[in-house]
């Protein structure tokens, strides 16, 4: 295989005569907001306690949408936001449209319920094949910490993939340069051919604030809902019956050890803590 020699390109040298047609798809998920909620297991361990939960868009996805918008604003194109979920997922798609995405798609069908990671990736793949995307972004992980959809989707599409991406530079219409976050604060640089799938790490940019006015502006925009009838999907790959990996229950592990929790009045706690700091070498 021939390899063309790599030439460094700084930002201002990037050839901006791209056709102005970067088609970007960003996959987002509606999740309980862990900054706003304590997550607890419900009475019978079948689910987390969902009463009074505040939901929001998955934190990593927000960075992915911001990155897509910035790329589009630099080189032209469109940003489409997609979510797989029930009708409630529409609110996070609309929120990301208020950030500046051009359009949204909701993939929703009762037959999707109970899908495992592969099932979700198959559903998204079916939608991707209806379009003509150059770049697909996901968050590096979501509420379940699995970080699996992007890598699976890339493999199903036979596109290249890179995870934990914290830098994207568009080189030309056929390739991009991406930085990945690796151990010790180091960054691994790669050149990747388009089309490709990237999972985005937090901190890659500073996602813009979405105000109530922004939400209002997109309130009347239509978000098409696609289900099994609109997508070519083999039923054995999706839903509960297609899932090879299933969650049995939620529980809180009984941790034998764990912190000794200091109790008492503020003064008592502070005195105890200062005493501990002294003996353990925490005060110089």
């Amino acid at each position: 295989m021939g390899r063309s020699p790599y030439r460094m390109q700084s930002n201002n040298e990037i050839n901006l005569s791209l056709e102005g047609n970067m088609e970007i798809l960003v996959c987002v998920k509606r999740v309980p907001d862990t900054a706003e909620n304590e997550i607890e297991v419900n009475k019978d361990g079948t689910d987390i306690e969902r009463d009074d939960l505040v939901y929001s868009v998955n934190e990593w996805d927000n960075y992915a949408v911001e990155e897509a918008i910035q790329i589009r604003d630099n080189v032209g194109g469109t940003v489409t936001v997609l979510s797989v979920g029930d009708e409630d997922a529409e609110e996070v798609v609309r929120r990301e449209m208020a950030m500046g995405a051009d359009q949204g798609i909701l993939l929703s069908d009762e037959a999707f319920a109970g899908s495992d990671g592969r099932g979700i990736a198959e559903i998204i793949k079916a939608e991707v094949e209806k379009g003509k995307y150059d770049l697909i972004l996901t968050g590096a992980q979501a509420d379940d910490g699995a970080g699996q959809i992007g890598g699976m989707l890339a493999a199903l599409l036979d596109w290249p993939y890179a995870s934990l991406v914290n830098l994207i530079e568009i080189m030309d219409e056929s390739k991009i340069k991406v930085g990945r976050e690796i151990a010790g604060g180091n960054q691994e640089m790669n050149e990747i051919a388009l089309p490709c799938v990237l999972s985005i790490q937090t901190g890659i940019n500073e996602p813009r604030y979405v105000g109530i006015r922004g939400i209002r502006k997109v309130a009347s925009m239509e978000i098409p809902v696609h289900g099994t009838g609109d997508l070519s999907l083999s039923p054995e790959a999706i839903g509960e019956s297609g899932a090879k990996v299933k969650r049995l229950d939620y529980f809180v592990p009984d941790s034998g050890e764990g912190a000794e929790i200091l109790e008492g009045s503020s003064d008592e706690i502070l005195d105890k803590l200062v005493e501990l700091l002294k003996t353990k070498g925490g005060i110089k």
Binding site: G145, Y161, E260, G281
Partner: protein
Amino acid sequence: MAQTVFSYILHQDGKIDDTAFELISAAKKIVPDATAIAIAMGSGSELEAACNELSASYPEIWKIDDEALSYPNAEIIRGLLSRIIPQGSIVLVPNEHFGMDLSPGLSIKLDTSFLPDAVDFEGMEDGKLKAIREEYSGQVSTHMLCDIAQGAVITVRPGVFQADESKGESGTVVDKTADALQEGLPGQSRRFLEVVEAEVGDVDITKSEILVSVGRGIEDEENLEMVNDLAETMGGDVSCSRPIVDAKWMEKSRQVGTSGQTVKPKVYLALGVSGSFQHMGGVKGAPYVIAVNKNPKAPIFQQADVGVVADILEFIPMLNDKVKEAKG
């Protein structure tokens, strides 16, 4: 016949990563009488050294030696693995940045189940593997049932399984290079360029004996002032968790965790830090850990020696005053 369990081996400069020994313990918990095979890819003398070290711990080692593998490019390695791994095998990969890059797609290419970030295994139930994972940054755990009849790719969290240091094997090294590369090098659509080393900050927190580490609970950039004050009073340095760096409130060089710095202080005071495994993975050397968090369920309390359930915004100034008082 027992299922074959492959371990993907991470190594650098000829040294085997600790996870290679942890995966032995994990494999035994999945299939007690498993045929364990290590897979090591790389090039030249470094790979040679790695295989030598592995042969004391694994009965069989498959090596693939090519210059293109001198830096682990997940696209290339995924392609090679999908050519050589027999159908129905279980493949274990450490769940760190390379494993995350490689594994979800590998499960698709091998057409097997994918179980990410397993922290424990509890044997078989209804012919399926019962495993434990964590969700919501470790706030709750789940039991999973994973169908392994057609094999599985399982990523295993580093540091949770005891490393098997028995070294009682005298393993055979099998050269799989020709098998793996006979159709040429896969994964050409992604090319590794270079590793950009982290910038060195004004303070080297890896050398600090006292760290006052601040997390999301600080809420506002201006509140960092009280953390700086406390650290100064205590004679320590300020470090932080990932959200503080993401918000650009502190330099990356101050971040503790697997993607940041590995620190070895005597005392680690975690203020409003939830305590994800990625964060605590950067805290080494068994320091005395004190956690202050308003969420009594925060995973940090599992890791700390002593904890205070309190709002750090109120607690920090009070602690600062008390420490000043104590110093006289």
